[in-house]
């Protein structure tokens, strides 16, 4: 059964079982590998994408449930890595292994879209379900604050 949705700003039609999680549609069917598999149970955040602007876990989102909706992945967050969160991530040199960072960035971008100037407590609440095993948390916190400044024109 064909399922249509908007992927990174462009219409997308796929023909897969509706129960198939969006994660595997992105990675295995469409070859968009920036969204990562980490747990398969919405426990780690590595697969975070935006569904109509809201952060969701692609690993537990049946593709049938997104018909007609807008999906943004890390590849579509900006055309050239220029989203404030991406620039802040580079400025703060956040990634180590980098595997969780697509999910971290997508969660942070959604946080900033809702809360322009997050406090440390806001960051904890929004980001605590995104696991990083390299322990980049201190840099992530710094980068979220930096991205908030960039968005408000306060830095570069």
């Amino acid at each position: 059964m064909a399922i249509q949705f908007i992927l990174n700003g462009k219409p997308q039609t796929i023909d897969t079982p509706p129960a198939m999680p969006l994660l595997w549609v992105l990675r295995d069917t469409l070859g968009l590998t920036g969204t990562k598999f980490g747990c398969g149970m919405a426990l780690c955040g590595a697969c975070t994408v935006h569904l109509n602007g809201q952060p969701v876990r692609a690993c537990v989102t049946p593709v049938g449930s997104i018909a007609g909706k807008k999906i943004t992945t890390i590849e579509g967050l900006s055309p050239d890595g220029s989203h404030p969160v991406q620039r802040a991530w580079v400025e703060a040199d956040v990634p180590q292994c980098g595997y969780c960072q697509s999910g971290q960035i997508m969660t942070a971008a959604a946080l900033l879209a809702k809360t322009a100037t997050p406090t440390d407590a806001d960051i904890d609440e929004a980001m605590r379900n995104n696991i990083c095993r390299c322990g980049t948390y201190q840099s992530i916190r710094q980068a979220v604050h930096l991205a908030a400044q960039m968005r408000s024109g306060g830095a570069r």
């Binding site: 079982p17 198939m20 999680p21 595997w24 990675r27 295995d28 069917t29 070859g31 968009l32 590998t33 920036g34 969204t35 990562k36 598999f37 980490g38 747990c39 398969g40 149970m41 426990l43 780690c44 590595a46 992945t73 890390i74 590849e75 967050l77 900006s78 890595g81 991406q86 991530w89 580079v90 040199d93 956040v94 990634p95 180590q96 292994c97 980098g98 595997y99 969780c100 960072q101 697509s102 960035i105 960051i123 904890d124 980001m127 605590r128 379900n129 995104n130 696991i131 990083c132 095993r133 390299c134 322990g135 980049t136 948390y137 201190q138 840099s139 992530i140 916190r141």
Partner: protein, 699 residues
């Protein structure tokens, strides 16, 4: 990395040396410093192209530790090129050039510091010689800087690219002079990582992202009990799952191969398998602890003996004893295990996120029966490794599945597969006895240790089972460390910082117990016992000073120390915690490290932060438990890890020095657990002797 990752080294060498010209310097990066260099063991290459591009092909992997960045810095220091424009690639394993390829023991910088700078200097000298010949001047009149050679008399310049072809025809200079530390312009200064831009927009290709034309996706059903085997299986339902293409039995279980990973998982769910569970099916965690305890009454194999600990204990003014225990731990890297393999009649190609390309290569040969030169391994970015990716089990599985199906296959482990099919940090148990003199100073220490061994036994001792205690830096006159190898059949292996990870918790905790028993300040006692360990002591003094050791704290707060000398480095941590209302909070960690000559200070700080998070995660939460031979945890809901709101404020201080660089990736893992538990003791008077910390028992 993306530009060069897929470079075929044979093609690279042929192209560079013959057709396209340019300058190629091949050299060897040994596993550890001091290994012999032979012509067959070249495993790294520097190429300067006539297009001005400098390419570094290295044998090391990147799993987050920043190796690509710091190795590029080492090259640039001597080659006088712009290090940020160096293209880097991982050398595909190729037996024609042999040599060990792997990244273990925090050895990348340690082993590369000399050879890589020498290769850069050799390439620079050849470019300078070529320029001198072009200008018909003496080469003393020429100097390399910023990707060019300058004629110092005329200020004329020739780019490296313009000289590369001529330089490539010159013999490699036998001796080169390397800069001394006072002349460094790149080394020792903080630099951003080269791999960051591609890791913030989804471009970076990890092993799990490899896509090969015609590739299918596989998952494997493995016996839930370690050592178990397939007795029989029924795949009739699995084969009806849409997308499933093949079901094949392999040595470790039954593989389901499908159009996509999800279909493969659905197919696996539909398999019916009878397992022969084997003898491990009766093993459980309580029984493992019991077997450790039973060994505590009997002398073990002697790992260290100085003086006469028994006699000193017998005559001491004051004696204390205590038992410590730590659980099995999973590595749980964010990228679950995976590997792509493509086996043909006469070739086997492997794409693996591996810490040990050499082991992956051997696995490919072993499964296929092909010759060394018919097996090619591509190293891919790793989404964490922590020691797990030093093994080759997941490579061998992928090769078996491709061999059986005849198509390129990506074998992916689900999180549950990864957590329940790990090679774990061993569970361990240690009983200490300590003796104090009449003034309260330690005069004897006996540690009786037990854990599952790996890496072989020497005189009955597993070095990975005792390191951290047997290697203690403390000047105690009478020491006995003995060891029991107790193997319950749970697979164990290297886990970031290996034996130090649990044994430093044991050692540093009991040292604190000795301090308390002798009514000494924990810092004061360590100072005295480290009198002959100047580097360890200097790191400790720096950490203590920066942490404000001795300054008053609020009620319910405490500070604790954890020190370690592993991977050649000296690391001291002071943790500050609060224990209030049944809640433990690790507020601040001050870490001082002496790792010799620092190449990239920013990289060192990243690794220290990382090790603290990894070690703290284990201390607060990590436990793999066994029931009926099965691991009871399968995902992050039952094997929780550190979250952003639990990350303490970490401050890193480097002890300045120009000693040979030592390791950093594992330096800060061991000390954090005892720093925290010693701080808990300072805050509450309660001694934590078992990990993970049972916060509910702290009151």
């Amino acid at each position: 990395m993306s530009a060069a990752t897929q470079l075929d080294r044979r093609g690279f060498l042929k192209t560079s040396a013959a057709a396209a010209g340019g300058l190629l310097v091949a050299f060897q990066l040994p596993e550890t410093s001091g290994a012999a260099v032979t012509s067959a063991s070249l495993n790294a290459f520097v190429h300067v192209g006539s297009d001005d591009l400098v390419t570094l092909i290295i044998h090391k992997g990147e799993m987050g530790q920043g190796t690509v960045t710091s190795l590029s810095m080492l090259l640039a220091e001597e080659l006088e090129c712009d290090w940020q424009k160096i293209r880097t690639g991982f050398a595909p394993i190729d037996p024609a050039y042999g040599g060990f390829q792997g990244v273990v023991g925090s050895g990348s910088i340690r082993s590369s510091f000399g050879p890589l700078r020498q290769a850069g200097a050799a390439a620079r000298e050849m470019l300078v010689q070529a320029a001198a010949a072009r200008w018909s001047v003496d080469q003393t009149q020429c100097r390399a800087e910023n990707n060019t050679v300058v004629n110092t008399a005329t200020n004329a310049r020739l780019s490296f690219g313009a000289l590369a072809e001529d330089a490539g025809k010159l013999p490699r200079p036998a001796n080169v002079t390397l800069k001394t530390a006072d002349g460094y312009s790149v080394i020792g200064k903080s630099h951003k990582r080269l791999d960051t831009p591609e890791k913030v927009d989804g471009r970076a290709i990890f092993g799990i992202d490899v896509r090969v034309p015609g590739m299918l996706h596989a998952v494997v059903a493995r016996c839930p009990v370690f050592g178990g085997k397939v007795a029989s299986f029924d795949d009739s339902k699995a084969k009806t799952v849409p997308g499933v293409k093949h079901v094949v039995q392999i040595s470790t279980g039954v593989a389901v191969v499908a159009d996509n990973t999800w279909s493969a998982i659905q197919g696996r769910n539909a398999l019916r398998i009878q397992w022969d569970e084997g003898k491990t099916a009766s093993v459980n965690s309580a029984g493992i602890t019991q077997s450790f305890v039973e060994h505590m009454d009997q002398p073990g194999a002697v790992a260290k003996k100085e003086g006469d600990a028994e006699a000193a204990l017998a005559s001491a003014a004051n004696r204390i004893e205590a038992s410590y225990e730590t659980p099995f731990l999973a590595h749980a890297p964010m990228e679950p295990l995976n590997c792509v393999a493509h086996v043909r009649a006469d070739a086997c190609e492997i794409w693996a996120p591996t810490q040990m390309p050499s082991a992956a290569h051997r696995a490919g040969m072993s499964v296929t029966g092909l010759k060394a030169e018919q097996v090619m391994v591509h190293s891919e970015y790793m989404g964490g490794g922590f020691g797990r990716r030093a093994a080759d089990d997941y490579v061998a599985e992928a090769v078996q599945i491709s061999k059986a199906t005849g198509v390129p296959v990506q074998a992916t482990w689900t999180r549950e597969d990864d957590m329940q099919g790990d090679l774990y940090r061993p569970a361990a148990y240690t009983h200490f006895r300590g003796a104090l003199d009449a003034d309260g100073w330690p005069i004897a220490l006996h540690a009786r240790m037990a854990c599952p061994p790996f890496g072989g036994l020497r005189n009955g001792v597993s070095s990975t089972g005792v390191e951290g205690v047997s290697t203690m830096p403390y000047g105690i006159p009478n020491i006995l460390v003995d060891y029991h190898a107790v193997d319950p059949g749970i697979p164990v292996s290297y886990w970031r910082s290996v034996g130090y990870s649990q044994n430093t918790f044991f050692m540093e905790s009991f040292l604190d117990e000795l301090a308390a028993a002798g009514k000494k300040d924990p810092l004061e006692l360590r100072r005295r016992l480290l009198a002959n360990q100047p580097r360890m002591l200097a790191a400790l003094e720096l950490a203590a000073e920066k942490a404000g050791w001795g300054k008053p704290l609020a009620a319910g707060h405490g500070r604790g120390i954890g020190i370690v000398n592993n991977i050649g480095s000296f690391t001291a941590q002071v943790a500050e915690v609060s224990v209030m209302g049944g809640k433990l909070k690790v507020l601040r960690v001050v870490c001082a490290v002496d790792c010799g000559q620092v190449v990239n200070p920013a990289g060192v700080e990243q690794q220290i932060q990382s090790g603290i998070a990894y070690g703290l995660s284990a201390a607060l939460k990590g436990a793999i438990t066994i029931d009926k031979g099965r691991v009871q945890q399968g995902n992050f809901n039952r094997y929780d890890v550190l979250r952003i709101d639990e990350m303490p404020k970490v401050e890193v201080y480097l002890v300045p020095g120009h000693a040979a660089p030592s390791g950093i990736g594992e330096a800060s893992v061991p000390g954090i657990a005892p720093a925290v538990t010693n701080a808990i003791f300072a805050a509450t008077g309660k001694r934590v002797r078992k990990l993970p910390i049972a916060v509910g028992e702290l009151g």
